[in-house]
Structure formats: structure tokens, C-alpha cells
């Protein structure tokens, strides 16, 4: 087990290095730069700006400089927001996205696993049909439709919430609901599928034959195997949900990291692009590792060593 984790960790480090290198050079080769503006900047002023940020040095030199400061944990200054560093922006915004993400995840898991389980044990009844339609609708209707619809109903017509913002506890409800539903839908379908497969297997029949109650059969025996597909889905999904959703954060005016992730690319804010990419890569790698460990625990057939 330890050997497995160590080797995976080293692999991840290598992958991270490759991601950083590729991103560093790719953003530089995109046309336009941080100071490209509609109103022309005179060549002298542009040179002054580039000198300030070290962009006048050869690219290889800049790359080594970047790796050097990265090793000290310094992600550099933001180009777009001159009085803030990338570290500050990330530390400022990740907690917001993580808070929204964890509430949404709770909504998604409760709703998704609950509905999926109901659908599986009441297969081909109206319960199943309703739960499955929820899954289909949730997958096919994008958040930028669900979000404004909920705002229209609950904020504008009923006046229960603000239309957008991130100030009081009430402001968490609508975005978490929208994001939660978006993730609940695939979870419910995966749960239903996984559970149906497991429910047909011999050990379930054995459990039933030994007189276990239906509730016990489902919760103790079936779900453990039935949730495996959900768990593999959750690795990347959790990384995505924690690093914020561009759409939700824009619609609801939430100061999260998801917007920076997308806008930094539009702004050619080189350091912020790299900072957010590194954050995302580290999260994905850590969560995938966690998923592998969890799967081994849940399914003895998976051998970590192999």
C-alpha cells in the first residue's frame, strides 16, 4: 500500500511538472498579451511595462525564474490586478468556491444517491420513471438555464432570496441548489446502474436467503459495490466542484476561483493562469489517488499492488 502511494505520488509530481511546463509555454504562444489593449500603447510604455514584469527577458530565462519562485511557493504578481498577488487571489477565492462546492456536493450526494437507490429498488415503476427523468433532465438542462429559472421563481417572484451575491447565509441556497442538482443528476443515474448490476448477483441472493431485511440488503450489501461507479465519478467531479463553476459564479456574482480560472485566460494574466492550473492539477491528482484508495477499500477485487 505504501509503495503504491509513493509511486503514485512521484508519478503525480512528474505529471505536475509537465502540466506547468506545457501551460507556461502554451499561454505565451497565444496571440495577444496581458497589455494588448484596444487603445494602442506606445512602444516605450509597453517596454516599461514588460521590464517591470520581467517579460523583456528571454522566454527560457523567464521559465527558470518562474520555477524558482514557484519552488519558494510564490506564484507571482497578477498582471490584470496589479495590487494583488496570485497567492492572495487564490487564498482569497478558493475558500468561497470550496464552501459553495461542499454544500453543493452534499446536496448532490443526498439527492443523487437517494433517488438512484429508490429508482433501482423500485425498478420500472413510476418511482423509477420520475427519478430517471430527474436524472435525464438534470443532465440535459444546463445550469445557466436552471439558475435564472430558480432566481425568477424564488428571488424575483417570491422574494425569498437575493437575485445574486455572496453576503449572508441565505445567499448560499440558490447557487448550491443549482450546482447540486447539476451533479445529482449523473450521480443518480450511476447509482441506479451500479445498484441494478449488483442486485442481480449471487451474494445478494445469499443475503436474502439468510433472511436479511430488504433495507439491510440494500444498505449493507448492495450499495457497497453499487456505488463504485459513483466513486470513480466523484474524483474529478469533486475537483471540479471545489475549484468552482465559472457559470454559477458568474450568474450569481460569487467571488470564487472558477471565474478567475476562465477570465485569467481571456486577460492573458499569465501568472494567474498558471496558478489556477496548478491548483486544479494538484486537486485532481490528490482526489484521483483518494478515489483509488477508496475503491480498493470498497471492492476487494481491486488490488492496489497490481
Amino acid at each position: 500500500m505504501l509503495r503504491f502511494i509513493t509511486s503514485r505520488f512521484l508519478q503525480s509530481l512528474l505529471a505536475l511538472f509537465l502540466v506547468i511546463t506545457a501551460t507556461f509555454f502554451m499561454v505565451r504562444f497565444v496571440p495577444g498579451g496581458p497589455f494588448t489593449a484596444e487603445k494602442a500603447v506606445t512602444p516605450e510604455i509597453l517596454r516599461n511595462l514588460e521590464a517591470h514584469y520581467g517579460l523583456d527577458k528571454p522566454l527560457g530565462h523567464q521559465y527558470l525564474d518562474y520555477l524558482g519562485s514557484l519552488a519558494r511557493g510564490d506564484l507571482g504578481p497578477s498582471f490584470k490586478y496589479p495590487n494583488r498577488t496570485v497567492n492572495e487571489i487564490i487564498f482569497d477565492k478558493v475558500p468561497v468556491s470550496a464552501e459553495l462546492g461542499s454544500i453543493s456536493l452534499a446536496v448532490a450526494l443526498v439527492l443523487g444517491i437517494g433517488l438512484g437507490t429508490l429508482a433501482a429498488i423500485r425498478r420500472n415503476t413510476w418511482v423509477d420513471y420520475i427519478a430517471s427523468s430527474f436524472g435525464m433532465i438534470g443532465i440535459s438542462i444546463p445550469t445557466f438555464v436552471v439558475g435564472p429559472l430558480l432566481v425568477l421563481a424564488l428571488a424575483i417572484h417570491l422574494g425569498w432570496f437575493n437575485a445574486s451575491g455572496w453576503y449572508g447565509p441565505a445567499d448560499r441556497v440558490l447557487p448550491a441548489l443549482v450546482l447540486g442538482i447539476a451533479y445529482a443528476a449523473p450521480i443518480s443515474r450511476l447509482t441506479r446502474g451500479g445498484l441494478l448490476e449488483v442486485l442481480n448477483q449471487d451474494f445478494i441472493r445469499t443475503a436474502r436467503a439468510k433472511g436479511a431485511s430488504e433495507f439491510r440488503v440494500v444498505t449493507r450489501h448492495a450499495l457497497r459495490g453499487g456505488l463504485l461507479p459513483v466513486v470513480s465519478f466523484l474524483g474529478p467531479a469533486v475537483a471540479g466542484i471545489l475549484t468552482g463553476s465559472f457559470v454559477i459564479e458568474t450568474i450569481f456574482q460569487i467571488p470564487g476561483i472558477g471565474r478567475e480560472f476562465v477570465n485569467s485566460a481571456f486577460n492573458r494574466d499569465y501568472t494567474l493562469v498558471l496558478g489556477t492550473v496548478i491548483l486544479y492539477a494538484v486537486l485532481i491528482m490528490a482526489l484521483n489517488l483518494a478515489v483509488d484508495i477508496a475503491q480498493a477499500w470498497m471492492n476487494p477485487k481491486v488490488r492496489l499492488e497490481s
Binding site: 497565444v30 496571440p31 495577444g32 494588448t36 489593449a37 484596444e38 487603445k39 494602442a40 506606445t42 516605450e44 510604455i45 516599461n48 511595462l49 521590464a51 517591470h52 490584470k80 490586478y81 496589479p82 495590487n83 477565492k93 470550496a98 464552501e99 461542499s102 454544500i103 456536493l105 452534499a106 446536496v107 450526494l109 444517491i113 428571488a155 424575483i156 422574494g159 425569498w160 432570496f161 437575493n162 437575485a163 445574486s164 451575491g165 453576503y167 449572508g168 447565509p169 441565505a170 448560499r172 441556497v173 444498505t219 459513483v230 466523484l234 471545489l242 458568474t250 450568474i251 450569481f252 460569487i254 467571488p255 486577460n267 492573458r268 482526489l287 478515489v291 477508496a294 477499500w297 470498497m298
Partner: protein, 552 residues
């Protein structure tokens, strides 16, 4: 089941610092149907104070107004600072920090007499030396201020900015005494006072900048609320990135008795649809813009909430005069003369824009173009035939470049259709992401390109100097020695009448040569709550808050 859920949620929250808190429903009233019932944050603040909630478009880059460039930043600059002069809603120049000023007969020397009661928000007096040192900072090469060219009218400013001059005392900025500031210009600049309404001309509090080592460089924390010092009608109370900026009425501002609104909250809402929903729940009094699809509905159902103001800018298409077929002036004119701009503004752009048949917005500081062209389809067809493409036959393939935005696409499609129908020519549309598009513009890698220009100050000059040969904003490859000569002589003109008649001749050249094709003059549409009084914007979209009020 419980164990599984535990496992899954533990996995999910393993890396979280924040607890998986339950979303609390904080709904106080479930009966209300009224859209005015604003929930917690706004209602809580509503304690008799006048608080204006203002949609400001985007998160400001910084509050160091010497290094920012955007419109949202400019609004904030007007809130926290004041320059030597200001303007009233009718665009007359009125005193700001300067009580009065003298201009030498040759127009080369401006002497500003600062008022005794002008103060910084920390109580320090605003001195002439503050202005001189601020301008020195703005022009310091290492600062890399993009708008530093706004100061180049002053003797030596350009050289200092380009490191050709290192002794700032040799420039035309002089503090004669603490309350007298003298500027010596390199040439008469009749629009200087108007140009001074731009934030490039605002003073900064030099001791604060020194404290944070910000005199010669950007990226310092002097603009954080706890450090910030300004001299405007409001002071910075709070800055929560991507959430809001809170401005409090300044107790030290010299004209504080005129300021009526206690607090202004600036919300950086990027999405027009989100803004519109916030307007409906009462979270915003003034929006930054209106979603195009909703404008007509508001105009029909709530006309009192819609405001459409003229905006000092022009929407146009730029020809690359070195690429076929636009190297032929007849083709450029044919394209310009064959459009139905009235239909375009009525059916497509929808916000009361004015069709553009010349190169300067109507009645710009008293200048009215005498050389406006007309839509003339027979003439357009004749020109196209003369250029060798009768009825569009053999017209080479032409691509129109625009930046990726719904509005530009619909306009481009409408024009594409008009050209197809009127001239029988086919134009292909393609779009690029903003910075790629700007890059294509500056490297002149296009045939025909959508463009827009918003002036920096109210004077026809700001619409003419960009077409000078090789000007960084020209980007057409077009140039005319006659035009350049006129441009130089315009600034030397003794009177405005003489100057404007030179602009008329320049406009004639532009209409004949058509290096760019005017389409319409901008307007600015927004939603404004009827509670807001005296919200008057200038054609540069400046709002001077001291004229505004908020009814309870």
C-alpha cells in the same frame, strides 16, 4: 448506508477547511410578492442612510488611478478623487481643486490657483506640489502608466516619459507656491481643461505613496482600504474583491455640503442578465447596461426606469487599405454608401443609436460636420462597377473580422445581408476572441474589421488625431500628408472657429477617402430606479456624484 455516506462525504471533504455547513434558509417572509422586498444584506443596511447601489460592470484592476485603463475604474476615480477642474452636467468646466485659473494669451501657460480648503481624506491640504509629484510619478518610465500620454501636452513630459529627459524640474510642471500650480505647454491645446477631467490628471497623496514605496512602481498595497487616501467626494471604506466596493461620503471634501448620498456601493456585476435580475429584486439602483433582449420590454412597460444617454463614441468598420479589394477607394465608398443605417439602429442595435454619416458625434463641443455623406445606392453601384465589379461580379472574397460577442455578430449579419442585397457581393464573417482580435488589428492582419472608439475627452480633436499617418490607433495603413498637415495646423489655430474649420477640411478628406466606414454613434442604455434623482452623465459617461440624490 451510513458508513458509506460517511466514507463518501469524508472523501469529498477531505481537503476542505470549511465545514460542510447546512444551507440555512433565512427566509423571513414567504408571503411577499412585491419585488421591492430586498432580503437581508440590503434591508439590514437600510437605517435611514441614503445608500446607492450601483452596477459597475467589472472588478477594477486596481484603485491606483495612474495605472488603470477601464471604464469601471474611471467611475471609481471620479468617486475617490478630484482634479484641478471638474465639469457640470452641461459640460461647462467648473472649479475643482483649483478655485480659478489664468491662461496666457498665447494659450501656452496655465496657472491654477488651488483652494485653501481642499483636503485629503486624512486631513492634509492638497498642494500644488502634490500635483507636480503625481504628474512626475505618472510619467516615470518604470511605472509603465498606459495613459501617461495624456500629459504629453506639457513641455518635456513626453521626453521624461521616454527617458530622454531625467531632470523633472526641466519639464513644464511647476509648483510656484503651495497653492499655485503652473503648467507650460509645448503647443496651444485648446481642449486641455476638458482633457483634465480624465483621471490621468488627478492628484495622488504623495506621503502615502512614499510610505508604500509606490512612487516609482506599481503593485504595492497603498490602494488597500486601510491605506488609501483620496481627495474626492467619497472615501474608500471597504473593497471586497469581486463583491463590492463601499464608498462613504467624505467629511474632508471641500464641497461636502453639496454631496447628498451617504454611501455608494459599487457592484462589479459582469453579466447584464444578472444585473437586470438584481435591479428587479431591488439590489441595484443603477445598472451598468441593459440586456438587449429586455430593452424593448422595459421601454414599453417601465419607461421611467430606462435611461438612454448619448455616448461620445463611434462604431465603425476599418478597412485595410493595403489589401484587395479595399486598396481601391471606390470599393470602400461603395460599401459605405450602400448601407441602410436607419434600419440597422432601429431593428438591430435597438438602443437609440444615431446612424453615422461622418466621423464625429453630432454637436461635439460645438463642432457639427458639414461633410456628412448620404446613403446613395445608385452611386454605390456605379462606384463598384467602376472598380471592376459590376453588380458584384468577380468581387474577391472578403472576410469581416469581429470579436466574439453576440451584438457584433448580429450587426455583422445585418450588414452582410444588406451588401448581398444591395451590391450583390458576398462577405464572410469570422470572429476571434478579444485579445486575438486586437492583436490582428495592431498587426493589421485583416481585410475588414469591426471597431469602436470612445473619446478620452470632449473635443473633435480626439476623433481626428487617430487618423494621422502611423498613429497607433489608425491601423488601416491609410495616411495622407495633407491630412497630417491640417492636424498640426489645427492646434496652432488662434480661435476655436478657425480650428473647427480646419477639422471640416479634414472631415472632407476622410469622407472622400473612407479609410474607415462609420456605422453609428454609441449610446449608453441602463436601468435607473426612479428613486435616483439628478443622476446626470456626461457624453463621456462621467457621473459627478455630488449632483445625485436618492429619494427614500
Amino acid at each position: 448506508m451510513r458508513r458509506l455516506l460517511l466514507l463518501v462525504s469524508a472523501l469529498a471533504t477531505a481537503l476542505l477547511v470549511t465545514p460542510t455547513g447546512c444551507a440555512k434558509k433565512d427566509a423571513s417572509s414567504s408571503t411577499s410578492v412585491s419585488t421591492a422586498a430586498a432580503p437581508a444584506p440590503l434591508a439590514a443596511a437600510n437605517t435611514g442612510k441614503k445608500i446607492l447601489n450601483y452596477g459597475n460592470g467589472a472588478e477594477p484592476q486596481d484603485l491606483d488611478f495612474q495605472i488603470v485603463t477601464g471604464v469601471p475604474e474611471h467611475r471609481l476615480a471620479l468617486t475617490f478623487f478630484e482634479g484641478l477642474v471638474s465639469e457640470d452636467p452641461q459640460l461647462n468646466i467648473i472649479p475643482g481643486v483649483a478655485e480659478h485659473w489664468d491662461i496666457s494669451p498665447d494659450g501656452l501657460r496655465y496657472t491654477f490657483h488651488l483652494r485653501a480648503d481642499a483636503q485629503w481624506s486624512n486631513g492634509d491640504p492638497v498642494t500644488a506640489d502634490d500635483f507636480v509629484q503625481s504628474y512626475q510619478r505618472m510619467l516615470t518610465p518604470a511605472l509603465g502608466a498606459e495613459y501617461s500620454y495624456m500629459l504629453w501636452h506639457v513641455v518635456g513630459a513626453e521626453d521624461y516619459n521616454k527617458s530622454k529627459l531625467t531632470d523633472f524640474s526641466k519639464t513644464g510642471f511647476k509648483a510656484v507656491d503651495p497653492r499655485t500650480l503652473q503648467l507650460t505647454l509645448r503647443q496651444a491645446t485648446p481642449f486641455l481643461l476638458h482633457a483634465m477631467n480624465h483621471h490621468a490628471w488627478y492628484p495622488l497623496h504623495i506621503p502615502t505613496l512614499k510610505k508604500f514605496g509606490a512612487l516609482e512602481r506599481r503593485s504595492t498595497p497603498w490602494t488597500r482600504p486601510e491605506n488609501f487616501v483620496g481627495n474626492g467626494p467619497y472615501l474608500l471604506k471597504e473593497w471586497r474583491a469581486n463583491q463590492k466596493i463601499v464608498a462613504l461620503r467624505s467629511p474632508t471634501y471641500w464641497d461636502r455640503s453639496a454631496v447628498k448620498i451617504d454611501e455608494i456601493h459599487f457592484f462589479p456585476v459582469e453579466l447584464a442578465d444578472t444585473e437586470e435580475r438584481m435591479f428587479r429584486t431591488g439590489q441595484l439602483h443603477i445598472t451598468y447596461e441593459v440586456p438587449l433582449t429586455k430593452l424593448a420590454v422595459y421601454q414599453r412597460e417601465q419607461p421611467a426606469s430606462v435611461r438612454v444617454d448619448p455616448y461620445n463614441g463611434i462604431y465603425y468598420y476599418r478597412f485595410n487599405v493595403k489589401r484587395k479589394p479595399f486598396d481601391d477607394v471606390r470599393v470602400r465608398r461603395a460599401l459605405a454608401l450602400s448601407l441602410d443605417r436607419e434600419t440597422l439602429v432601429k431593428k438591430v442595435t435597438l438602443a437609440g443609436e444615431l446612424p453615422a454619416y461622418d466621423f464625429t458625434p453630432p454637436d461635439l463641443a460645438g463642432y457639427v460636420s458639414q461633410h456628412a455623406f448620404k446613403s446613395d445606392l445608385p452611386e454605390a453601384k456605379r462606384l463598384l462597377a467602376a472598380a471592376g465589379y459590376p453588380d458584384g461580379k468577380d468581387f474577391p472574397s472578403v472576410e469581416l473580422l469581429y470579436n466574439t460577442l453576440e451584438k457584433h455578430r448580429t450587426i455583422a449579419e445585418a450588414l452582410q445581408q444588406m451588401w448581398r442585397k444591395n451590391l450583390g457581393i458576398e462577405i464572410t464573417l469570422y470572429n476571434q476572441e478579444w485579445k486575438v482580435y486586437i492583436d490582428a488589428q495592431h498587426t493589421k492582419n485583416f481585410q475588414l474589421q469591426r471597431a469602436g472608439w470612445i473619446a478620452d475627452y470632449i473635443d473633435p480633436h480626439s476623433f481626428f488625431d487617430m487618423w494621422e499617418t502611423g498613429n497607433g490607433n489608425n491601423d488601416t495603413h491609410w495616411g495622407s500628408p495633407a491630412y497630417d498637415g491640417l492636424l498640426r495646423s489645427a492646434l496652432a489655430a488662434k480661435t476655436n472657429t478657425a480650428r473647427y474649420s480646419i477639422y471640416q477640411q479634414m472631415e472632407k478628406i476622410l469622407v472622400d477617402e473612407m479609410p474607415v466606414m462609420p456605422i453609428y454613434f454609441y449610446t449608453r442604455a441602463r436601468l435607473v430606479s426612479p428613486k435616483v434623482k439628478g443622476f446626470i452623465t456626461t457624453p463621456l459617461d462621467n457621473c459627478h456624484w455630488k449632483f445625485a440624490d436618492l429619494a427614500p
